[in-house]
């Protein structure tokens, strides 16, 4: 792997950048791998990377039916934070956040992780109570998160309107300063390059069409658009398409796939210094390095694989954005798009074993998977390498839906009176 650095960049600039090779190869699939990962998004690529770097397992293939990072990795609003309520989630997302903090250096690929702070706004007394619950729980879990008065919110995010004219005035907010954003594509590419350099085969345009099981029922490989590929273990990391892939092995999942939309404005000079989230009015906004305001909308109410949602979802989100930031009404929407998010009944992921031997799954990240990418890959690699979950992902079993031990962050933050 040719190292990226200012020096190598300068030396290449002398010769028209002709010396840069491929960032990852385009290999033909081998007949068999120790581990086959289905899904070349951030989570799948990170899993391959950590299999190679942490566990020394390099006979690994990542199968991607399109182009790597083309699913939710390249379609999300890149918010990264770890201030979750429950110990289980806090452990998982904080694990990820710690990895984010050194990721550019670890991968030798600038993923532009920007710790600009994520400010979550409270708009009613219930929000205040809920956010303080988070702040206190985070403190005892060693996760930074602080309560800000509405004036402090304004100071941290000057464009914010904290006046009383709002339909739901801002009462305060919870701020995680270590939280922020990253360049989503670079995460996929960085992990791909790192994994590839260690021998992992990243195979694009390779759709999995079946999961082959032997007489004893255990999974032995995958049928693909490029032929059968044998596998010691299979890790399915297919996000919105997980139900489809798992059904190939006869496993039904507690998942539903919904369209999730996002949009960006035209690029402008720096005007928005942080990330602001408001669950109560459904607004998520930050500004990218390129200058676009990056705005997240909610999911549509029906399941769909179309990567397209309704305009009313977008307009509702912009209602909220312009309610909170009235000076943005003259900004313009440049591009909008949709992803397919796989949602579990308790809105927490499933990472671990399945009823089929040698078949493992990592899914159910819903609307918030990007932030977990390094942590998710790291613990899933552990699970695939050892056959058992890491302590961090141990609570996130498929079995919890039977026992009732749900990890329901969404319910805990639900608004009700």
């Amino acid at each position: 792997m040719r190292r990226f650095s200012l020096t190598s960049l300068l030396s290449e600039s002398m010769r028209g950048h002709t010396g840069w090779g491929r960032q990852w190869r385009a290999p033909e699939p081998k007949p068999r791998y120790d581990v086959v990962i289905v899904g070349g998004g951030g989570h799948g690529l990170a899993t391959a990377y950590y299999l190679a770097t942490v566990h020394g397992i390099t006979n690994v293939a990542v199968l991607e039916k399109g182009w790597i990072g083309g699913g939710n990795t390249g379609r999300n609003t890149t918010i990264i934070r770890s201030n979750y309520l429950y110990d289980e989630s806090a452990g998982l997302y904080e694990h990820a956040l710690k990895l984010w903090e050194g990721l550019s250096q670890e991968l030798n690929y600038n993923v532009m992780f920007s710790q600009r702070g994520v400010l979550m706004l409270a708009h009613n007394i219930h929000d205040v109570q809920s956010f303080k619950r988070h702040v206190y729980a985070n403190r005892l879990n060693g996760i930074d998160n602080e309560w800000l008065s509405k004036e402090e919110c304004k100071e941290f995010c000057p464009p914010l309107d904290i006046g009383g004219g709002l339909r739901y005035p801002v009462l305060g907010g919870a701020l995680q300063r270590r939280a922020g954003t990253a360049r989503h594509d670079a995460v996929a590419w960085g992990y791909a390059r790192g994994a590839d350099a260690r021998g992992v085969d990243i195979i694009q345009n390779c759709e999995v069409t079946g999961i082959r099981r032997d007489a004893s029922g255990k999974a032995v490989g995958v049928e693909t658009s490029r032929g059968f590929i044998g596998a010691g273990r299979i890790g399915v990391v297919a996000a919105g398409h997980t139900s489809t892939v798992m059904s190939m092995a006869g496993v039904s999942m507690p998942l539903e796939s919904y369209p999730l939309q996002a949009l960006v404005s035209e690029p402008v000079k720096p005007v928005f210094p942080c990330v602001v989230m408001s669950n109560a009015v459904h607004a998520y906004i930050s500004q990218s390095d390129k200058g676009e305001l990056v705005i997240g909308a909610g999911t549509d109410q029906y399941t769909s694989y179309s990567q397209q949602g309704g305009l009313h979802i977008t307009t509702h989100t912009l209602d909220a954005i312009c309610e909170l930031f009235p000076q943005f009404t003259r900004m313009r929407m440049l591009r909008s798009w949709g992803g397919i998010v796989d949602v579990t009944p308790d809105r927490s992921p499933i990472i671990g074993k399945t009823p089929v031997q040698n078949l493992f799954v990592n899914c159910g990240w819903g609307t918030g998977g990007f932030k977990a990418t390094p942590g998710s890959g790291h613990v899933f690699a552990h699970t695939l390498a050892t056959g058992e979950p890491h302590t961090i992902n141990a609570p996130f079993t498929l079995d919890r839906f039977r026992t009732g031990r749900l990890i329901d962050e969404a319910a805990a933050a639900a608004v009700a009176h």
Partner: protein
Amino acid sequence: MLLIACPHCGNRPETEFRCGGQAHIARPEAPSAQSDEAWAEYLFVRKNPRGVHAERWCHVHGCGRWFNALRDTVSDRFIEIYPMGAQPISELQSEARA
């Protein structure tokens, strides 16, 4: 925004409706007799198909009635609308894969 043909009111915009998810999941006759596995399956496991999906809709901001629909989750096109308690006539074949 989808356009949904309420069997009682006719074509109406999606914002008048609530989607109730997968159809034809009958509540077990005797829930207490269900095993934990079977009960979890009833509560949580969903088909989530890529293709034709039987789902429930309720015209909440209209007549208030529930009904069933077949919709292709790839094209988002409605194939059939039919009453609660009935089975669809159309085949569960995805348009997208045809």
